[in-house]
């Protein structure tokens, strides 16, 4: 007999417990002198004998019960030595969107299907999708018809390619299959992006043969929209796009901008291979128009149409904008915050633009950064409160000025100045790395933050304050507070060199950018999203639908959810009068269809030993047999039968 989880057999040592108890409790302690035993002799002897037998039986049952349960958890099974017969085949499918180039997908499917055709009844096959992470579309099965059907209906996705995880998983699976002949059918376009990161010096396991398709025809025409952003002023939308040419050396394309089916603008672009051509197109806008759902396409369509379209949304007049209050700078001080936000306007992934606090109502889809008294005056404070009531996000740098302090106290936030530093300056610590606002930054290490020295600061105290970091005296240095539908991020120090050395350090701008990105991703701004990236939707119940892009999506009613779009396009979440739009684009790394330069590299992956390693096969067979046999059920059933018997006997022997 073999065991699937032999570690559980250690629990059988627990039989020692009832054995010890049996011998500890075995002898009655009471001695009863009696004139004669002649009247209780036979019956007492009989009873004593029966009692002894019952006690031994109870002990036996208890031991058996424990042993059975230990054995059941260890999953016993009868192992048969594996025999190698038939063929096993894994078809590893590169389902990235680069496979839609020209006729690559169709050709490779025919080739893979022809490999499947070589299998006969009794052989086993499976389909492994490579992207975004390896997953079995059809696990290894002798049902070849199921594999063929799945193969025939298979379509490529919108992900990028990573070969290595799928290569190793397929190799390992085949190595453990009890087949004479094991073949890995590599249905991929051998793109350089896919092979990058693969350790070619590490061949496939013994006995696994990998088959590559014949070389595919190179594409002749390939360009991609690599970036699309839309901003706005009072009178126009400004669309910024970047287009990269991959093939041929020089080409012309026309960038067409549409909202729905309505064409808004078109511009011809001259492209050189390898260069990213940036264009800015202005689109007139009505003063009342505050939203735009933009689709950009390249014409004419080239050999890889998937990346010839891109999407962007403009929501609200101040989308992706940071509203900064104005403060009077002290001598020898610079407006580090303004400089930092300005520097975020040029980054590609999540640019932010700076704006001033409007005189009237603040646009709710912006983030207000407040560090002086301006925003807390009586009139401005009304705008601030309304902004928060509508769901806005405010980042307050505490300076302790009277109006700021008064506003904070009104919202139950008490601030206390830190004591004057002695020889050691103040530091912040105890960062909540699980907080979504810090988690991204924390992945690169918190050391730069821990090294910041503070000359002055404020301890924050509020019943609803969720701490992000503490001072060394364990009071809160930074935290988040919910006010109305909005949020207030509080930092207990001003962004000035007088308070700390942080503004001059290299961590200042990246930290602010990460924080603002995290804040915007949580709903107030429009983030830049890629296919396969999760979107945390607002807490209100609403309808999730797709308004532009290929494919259709039936509107769904959801609440408190995160969604992961699998296709590019423009998605919308509508809750009452509030609408959130999300532009989801492809990761354009995949647009570069250049194949891996040396075929010999991937041919080197071929297994050096044609004979399968029997140990791996035996281990896998053991695992399979172990998981298939249900002997453990019988043991549990027997234990369940023994249990009431043991209880009945134990009750009779408990005197």
């Amino acid at each position: 007999m073999n065991w699937l989880f032999p570690g559980f057999l250690m629990a059988a040592a627990l039989v020692g417990v009832p054995v010890v108890l049996h011998f500890l409790r075995g002898k009655p302690r009471t001695i009863i002198p009696f004139p004669t035993l002649r009247f209780l002799g036979p019956s007492a002897l009989r009873e004593t004998r029966q009692h002894r037998i019952r006690r031994w039986l109870t002990l036996l049952m208890r031991c058996a019960l424990i042993a059975l349960l230990a054995a059941a958890f260890a999953r016993p099974f009868w192992a048969k030595p594996p025999t190698l017969n038939g063929k096993a085949m894994v078809i590893a499918v590169d389902n990235s969107y680069s496979m839609t180039a020209v006729d690559h997908w169709a050709k490779l499917k025919v080739w893979a299907a022809s490999q499947l055709g070589g299998l006969k009844a009794g052989d086993r096959a499976g389909i492994l999708l490579m992207n975004p992470t390896p997953r079995w579309l059809v696990p290894m099965t002798p049902n070849l018809e199921q594999v063929r059907t799945a193969m025939a209906t298979l379509t490529p996705g919108w992900q990028t390619t990573h070969y290595d995880p799928a290569l190793r998983l397929a190799g390992q699976t085949l190595a453990q299959t009890a087949a004479k002949q094991r073949t890995l059918v590599w249905m991929g376009d051998q793109q350089r992006l896919g092979w990058s990161g693969v350790d070619f010096a590490k061949p496939l396991p013994a006995g696994v043969k990998i088959l590559f398709p014949d070389e595919l025809l190179p594409v002749a025409q390939q360009a991609a929209i690599t970036r699309l952003q839309v901003g706005g002023t009072d009178r126009k939308f400004v669309v910024e796009a970047a287009v990269r040419l991959y093939e041929p050396v020089v080409a012309k394309r026309t960038l067409v901008l549409r909202e729905g089916t309505k064409e808004l603008a078109r511009q011809e672009i001259e492209l050189n291979v390898g260069d990213e051509q940036k264009v800015a197109i202005s689109i007139p806008k009505e003063p009342t128009q505050t939203e735009l759902a933009l689709t950009a396409t390249l014409e004419p369509v080239d050999n890889l149409p998937a990346d010839d379209s891109a999407y962007a949304v403009f929501q609200g007049e101040q989308g992706s904008k940071i509203l900064l209050d104005t403060v009077e700078m002290a001598e020898n001080e610079a407006d580090y915050l303004a400089h930092a936000v300005d520097s975020m306007g040029v980054v590609q992934e999540q640019p932010f633009r700076r704006g001033d606090l409007p005189a009237g109502a603040w646009p709710v889809r912006s983030i207000a950064m407040l560090r002086g008294e301006e925003a807390f005056g009586s009139e401005r404070a009304k705008c601030l409160d309304q902004f928060l009531a509508d769901g806005g996000t405010v980042w307050i740098w505490v300076t302790g000025e009277p109006q700021q302090k008064s506003w904070l106290e009104r919202h139950q936030v008490k601030i206390t100045p830190l004591p004057l530093p002695g020889a050691e300056l103040h530091h912040w610590q105890d960062f909540d790395v699980e907080s979504p606002l810090l988690s991204d930054y924390a992945q690169n290490g918190l050391l730069p933050l821990l090294r910041i020295e503070f000359e002055a600061g404020w301890s924050l105290q509020s019943p609803g304050l969720e701490g992000l970091a503490n001072w060394e005296n364990k009071t809160v240095a930074a935290g988040v507070l919910g006010v109305g539908r909005g949020r207030v991020v509080l930092f207990g120090f001003p962004p000035s060199r007088a308070a700390s050395n942080w503004p001059g350090q290299s961590s200042f701008v990246p930290f602010l950018h990460q924080m603002l990105t995290a804040l915007s991703a949580q709903g107030s701004l429009t983030p830049v999203l890629r296919v396969g990236q999760a979107i945390v939707l607002p807490a209100e119940k609403g309808t999730w639908s797709k308004i532009a892009g290929s494919g259709a999506l039936a509107p769904q009613e959801i609440a408190h959810a995160a969604v992961t779009p699998e296709e590019p396009g423009i998605y919308e979440y509508r809750s009452g009068n509030n609408v959130w739009r999300y532009a989801v684009n492809l990761d354009t790394q995949e647009s570069d269809l250049t194949p891996w330069p040396q075929k010999s590299d991937w041919l080197a992956l071929q297994s050096k030993d044609p004979n399968p390693e029997m140990k791996a096969v035996a281990d896998a067979a053991t695992q399979e047999q172990g998981s298939q046999q249900n002997n453990w059920w019988w043991m549990v059933a027997l234990a369940l039968v023994l249990l009431p018997m043991e209880l009945a006997l134990a009750n009779r022997t408990s005197l």
């Binding site: 004669t36 007492a44 009873e47 004593t48 005197l655």
Partner: protein
């Protein structure tokens, strides 16, 4: 017609006080006094016409036996006593086997203590009746034997023999009775104090022999309340005082069969004695022994 003694209801003795009294003699006197105070007429009487002596009147004496003329002369109440026509011979047999050393109460009497006390009281009663009283101590053999005499010194000897510890002896009641039987030459009353934990057949043979010698037998079976009620609890190891054998058992599970078997034993014992014309009384060590004295007097009156 032979007269019978009808005993009125007597106030029970304080058995705890009795067990606390030091010395066998004091115990015997306490029992005697308690016994006599319950009688309306004196048990001391004879039926001979030959005058023997006067003695002072004691409460309970038959007023018919007062000498009124002497009272007229001396102003003292005197009772006439006559020499008994037949002097009774009483042999008190006490079983000192190990089973008799059992006592369930911590401060109470063992069965042997109780038997000694009853024997001493009976001897005292008999001596006051002017009967000749003797003693047989029965154990693995006939441990001691005192010939019956009516003297006071004999009574004291009997008490001292009773108080002697015979040590650990084998339980052979019937054999020791057989051994004692030839020593009881003249007819008399044989009072046996024992728990009668003996095989029936040898005991029956011994009893038959005593009856053949025309002795009147009074069997006083002395038992501890724990033996009768078997009021133990839980589980334990029972140790046989006679053999040292041990049995582990749960009381609840063996109580029923014990009580049944013990009840059968009592019934068999009683029937055996009664079948052979012997009197039988069961005495519990937690109750006073007055019924034993009553049984003796009843038998004596029956003989006279």
């Amino acid at each position: 017609m032979v007269g019978t003694l009808t005993l009125p209801s007597m106030k029970p003795l304080d058995i705890e006080l009795l067990s606390d009294l030091p010395g066998l003699e004091l115990k015997a006197r306490y029992v005697m006094d308690g016994f006599l105070s319950g009688l309306h007429r004196s048990p001391y009487k004879g039926f001979s016409v030959e005058f023997a002596q006067y003695r002072a009147y004691q409460p309970g004496d038959d007023l018919r036996r007062l000498d009124w003329r002497l009272y007229g002369r001396t102003d003292r109440l005197q009772v006439r006593e006559y020499e008994a026509e037949t002097q009774m011979r009483v042999i008190v047999c006490v079983d000192v086997s190990p089973s008799m050393r059992y006592g369930s109460a911590t401060k109470g009497l063992t069965k042997l203590d109780y038997a000694r006390m009853v024997a001493a009281s009976l001897a005292m009663l008999a001596q006051r009746q002017r009967d000749a009283v003797g003693l047989a101590v029965l154990g693995g053999k006939l441990e001691d034997f005192l010939r019956p005499k009516s003297s006071l010194s004999n009574l004291h000897t009997l008490w001292s023999l009773l108080e002697r510890d015979p040590g650990r002896v084998a339980p052979r009641l019937a054999a020791s009775l057989q051994e004692a039987a030839p020593l009881m030459r003249r007819r008399g009353i044989v009072v046996i104090l024992s728990d009668f934990y003996e095989d029936m057949e040898p005991l029956r043979a011994a009893l038959r022999r005593l009856r053949h010698a025309r002795h009147d037998v009074i069997a006083l079976q002395i038992l501890d309340p724990a033996e009768i009620d078997f009021n133990f609890e839980g589980r334990g190891t029972f140790v046989d005082l006679e053999t040292g054998a041990r049995i582990k058992a749960g009381v609840d599970e063996i109580r029923e069969s014990y009580l049944e078997r013990f009840g059968n034993f009592l019934k068999e014992t009683r029937e055996m004695f009664r079948d052979h014309g012997a009197d039988f009384e069961l005495l519990r060590t937690d109750r006073d022994p007055l019924p034993a004295l009553s049984a003796y007097l009843a038998r004596r009156e029956h003989l006279l």
